[in-house]
């Protein structure tokens, strides 16, 4: 279950759209052109259950997403999904981790206030006694060159 974004939370002028998310969910989102720079030296860390429901976040995740911990725990990870991200990227992510492999890519994430931040994301399956019990996702500061490449590439993937 995921709620639509609330226009009262948005900072600045915004556009709106409806996203089709994994599992048949839809979400109305509001987004601005305001970027929050990735903080130097920090890692954003989260874990999810096997279906992508958030089970743990660290403080950097809370700070960068703009949501409270209570709003994040139990929500699908796609609460961060930005309309500029092509669904092909997330299909590749899921296909890769479901094979038990590590996925890495550059992601534009949507904040609660409608702004965005770019990350270099790595996702690994959490395997306990041979069973995948969830996924750990770690985001770090991306190189600007790579971000610029993605800004050019991602619109061509829709």
């Amino acid at each position: 279950m995921i709620n639509d974004m609330n226009p009262r939370d948005i900072v600045g002028e915004f556009r709106e759209t409806v996203l089709n998310l994994y599992g048949g969910m839809q979400r109305k989102v509001f987004y601005t052109g305001i970027e929050t720079p990735y903080p130097d030296g920090k890692l954003i860390v989260s874990t999810t259950d096997p279906t992508g429901i958030i089970t743990h976040v660290n403080q950097a995740f809370i700070d960068m997403s703009g949501y409270t911990e209570a709003e994040l725990i139990g929500a699908p990870h796609s609460i961060l999904r930005h309309p500029d991200m092509p669904s092909a990227a997330f299909k590749d992510l899921w296909d890769t981790v479901e094979r038990g492999e590590k996925w890495q890519g550059f992601v534009k994430n949507l904040r609660k206030d409608g702004g965005y931040y770019w990350v270099k994301a790595t996702v690994v399956p959490n395997i306990r006694k041979g069973v995948v019990v969830g996924y750990t996702s770690v985001r770090r500061k991306p190189s600007r060159t790579k971000v610029e490449e993605c800004i050019a590439l991602y619109p061509t993937l829709f």
């Binding site: 030296g41 920090k42 874990t47 950097a60 590590k102 770690v138 770090r140 500061k141 190189s143 600007r144």
Partner: protein, 248 residues
């Protein structure tokens, strides 16, 4: 029969005697004969681990993954409030103020401390830097990394934050920190191997009770620690998964 205890070679040299004091204390508390062996470097220590000579180890997070997954070690405890953090520093006279401004071809000084090097390399990524486009200057110790920067022989250095903070004020004045990691969840752990696993609970109880008596507190002080706290299996697995995401 004597069991073998070793400490990750990246320990702070000031605490060398502390580990011997700790080992004596641990033997008295547990009644187990333990020999402390300090190896000169990571390679010598890993060789001993591969030959199954090691039974107890204060391990860096990079080696912890291998110890759990390949050698059947389990975590005992970690020092309270201590985490492994890295620093990227340049000479104070270097005009660069952000790691992203560094350019390929620079000379990078670092030690063979595996998790610190890994964290440092991650912090250099925003400048599109990697091992393939930098000149490597491996060093035996962090003081050497500092010296290379001061002499202008290296452009950038990777430090264990604790080691950087321990440099003399005179040296630090001539250096400039570009980035200090704030990861918090990567830490060294005391780990127990297959030959001693039946004593895991006993060892944990001894460690956690150290703050309860004067001698124990003195031993902790000689290690530079406040106290030990228990590390359970899932916490260790979480750290290993996290390290896995960071491995380049």
């Amino acid at each position: 029969m004597s069991f073998l205890f070793t400490v990750s070679p990246d320990f702070t040299p000031d605490h060398l005697s502390g580990w011997y004091i700790f080992n004596t204390w641990l033997q008295k508390q547990t009644g187990v004969a333990i020999h402390l062996e300090m190896y000169n470097g990571f390679n010598a220590q890993r060789e001993a681990i591969s030959q199954d000579k090691v039974n107890l180890i204060y391990a860096n997070p990079y080696d912890a993954a291998m110890l759990v997954r390949e050698k059947g070690f389990l975590p005992l405890a970690k020092p309270v409030g201590e985490s492994d953090e890295a620093i990227i520093a340049v000479s104070a006279s270097n005009p660069v103020s952000d790691a992203a401004e560094l350019t390929p071809g620079i000379r990078l000084a670092f030690t063979d401390d595996p998790d610190v090097k890994m964290m440092g390399m991650i912090m250099l990524e925003p400048g599109d830097l990697d091992v393939g486009n930098m000149q490597s200057m491996p060093c035996d110790a962090y003081v050497q990394v500092a010296k290379h920067l001061l002499r202008g022989e290296a452009d950038v250095g990777i430090f264990l934050a604790e080691a950087y903070d321990g440099l003399s004020e005179m040296i630090k004045k001539q250096l400039k920190i570009l980035v200090r990691s704030q990861i918090s969840v990567i830490h060294h752990s005391l780990m127990i191997g297959p030959g001693l696993l039946d004593k895991r609970e006993q060892f944990q109880q001894c460690l956690l009770g150290m703050t309860g008596d004067e001698k124990g507190r003195g031993v902790l002080e000689s290690l530079g620690f406040r106290a030990w706290e228990k590390v359970d299996d899932e916490e260790m697995e979480f750290m290993i998964d996290l390290m896995d995401t960071l491995t380049l």
